[in-house]
Symmetry: C2
Subunit: 267 residues, 2 copies
């Protein structure tokens, strides 16, 4: 039988709600994920919540049942609650059927195995959680080995980033490192570092990329610092025919990642 | 001399603030855009605000001066205000230096000239304003003739969509139409309608696309209705190597649009 909580003042609800703030996430090494699709994706990837909240009226949904059983079997707690509280936890007027508290993963470079993939995505000072989640989804789709976040990026465990990732947070390895740590790590093994840049004439379809390729995207507003771009093996740009000479960072990353993937799959 | 308003109770401030709601935008045929970059993009594209608000401390910025002069020369009003009020208008803690009230554009299909471009983007029931703005930016970058919004999409004049478009709202023609109106319009002239779909085996790099190409992207969560997909000349999909079998709608649109553009530029 699940425990039933319907009071917002309950300490467990308050704790869950507090994880919407980065400070609390860091202090507790935990984060929130919500929605049946995302939590099911997590379960299939081997990640179960420490605490699973579900609405009373969705207790019979087969995916909720599967999540609740797996959570309890793994020693987690299942809490039955109501839509009001789920809404407060998720910050959405129309909350999903479930919200989970998950333990944060380690995000050191050491956990990455560069021989595991021929393509890696790297983002520097990414500010928008939607862009981060979207890039994680792209990483999943193109078969990238993972996403490496350089310097001060938005928190990948933020509610908005997890939501935008549609579950890819659980399937795509993530590392976080300052540039001074990333660059020696990269140069300690094989790897071509390719910068997406406006400051080049090299068309992104000209080079034959070498595996493993590390695609580096800079900050949404400022792009890459010159000093970082100088360290890259290649700087490439997409043709831009319009007036703005800019693309959304997640879009540019995806167009570039598919170019690398297409080169490889066509031999 | 600009008029100075520093009271939030001022009717003009209240009116501007009300344009954050779709209902008021429709009633007044006006919308808000903010930030020096976006308003300068608008000015260069020939769009000036009916009312320009700027912070007192940015009055000497060359781009603010240029905007204020052009606005007054076109018969618009320039209001000097403070950061608090700009923040209330923009809904951001860190507002840009300027906010403008612009007249909405007509968005009928009749205003589109299909012979003007070899590529058009079409989105059906797009729900996320960030995706809409991002797709407008992509349309600008790939030289698309415009963006056609089918059925009930998020409002392209919403503050969030305008912001995400980074000014492309002013440079990319937009039309809105129900499917029953779009399809006869499309079939009344040349045009290949290509659906992005998960429900096909046709790789997006296999066909040689015919100009003008109309790229159709479906709703973020549900994709295209079958009945709409059935009317398309082609259904194509991108390879997805991961576990999720999904891409963000704006990302999929961009990857696809660059494929069409790349085919054309390489002859």
């Amino acid at each position: 039988m699940p425990r039933v909580i319907t009071a917002f003042s309950n300490p467990l609800i308050k704790r869950a709600r507090s994880l919407r703030d980065k400070r609390h996430r860091r202090a507790e090494s935990a984060f929130l994920a919500e929605g049946l699709r995302i939590l099911t994706e997590a379960r299939e990837a081997g990640f179960l919540p420490e605490t699973l909240f579900h609405a009373a009226d969705s207790a019979q949904h087969p995916l909720v049942v599967a999540l609740a059983q797996a959570t309890e079997a793994a020693g987690g707690e299942v809490i039955e609650t109501n839509a009001d509280i789920l809404s407060k936890l998720s910050g959405k007027d129309n909350p999903g059927a479930v919200v989970g508290i998950f333990a944060e993963f380690a995000t050191g470079l050491a956990k990455l195995d560069r021989s595991a993939a021929d393509l890696w995505l790297v983002a520097e000072r990414l500010r928008d959680p939607g862009n981060l989640g979207t890039i994680l989804r792209t990483a999943d789709a193109v078969g990238a080995g993972g996403l490496i976040l350089i310097d001060e990026c938005v928190d990948p465990f933020s509610v908005e980033a997890v939501r935008a990732s549609m579950g890819a947070l659980f399937t795509v390895p993530i590392a976080q490192a300052p540039w001074e740590e990333f660059l020696p790590w990269l140069r300690s093994g094989p790897g071509q570092l390719v910068a997406l840049s406006l400051d080049t004439d090299l068309d992104y379809q000209t080079p034959r990329y070498e595996a493993p390729t590390f695609l580096l995207t800079g900050n949404e507003a400022q792009g890459l610092p010159d000093a970082y771009a100088d360290e890259c093996d290649l700087r490439v740009k997409m043709p831009m025919l319009g007036k703005a000479d800019s693309l959304n960072a997640a879009v540019a990353t995806a167009v570039m990642a598919y170019e690398v993937r297409n080169q490889r799959r066509h031999g």
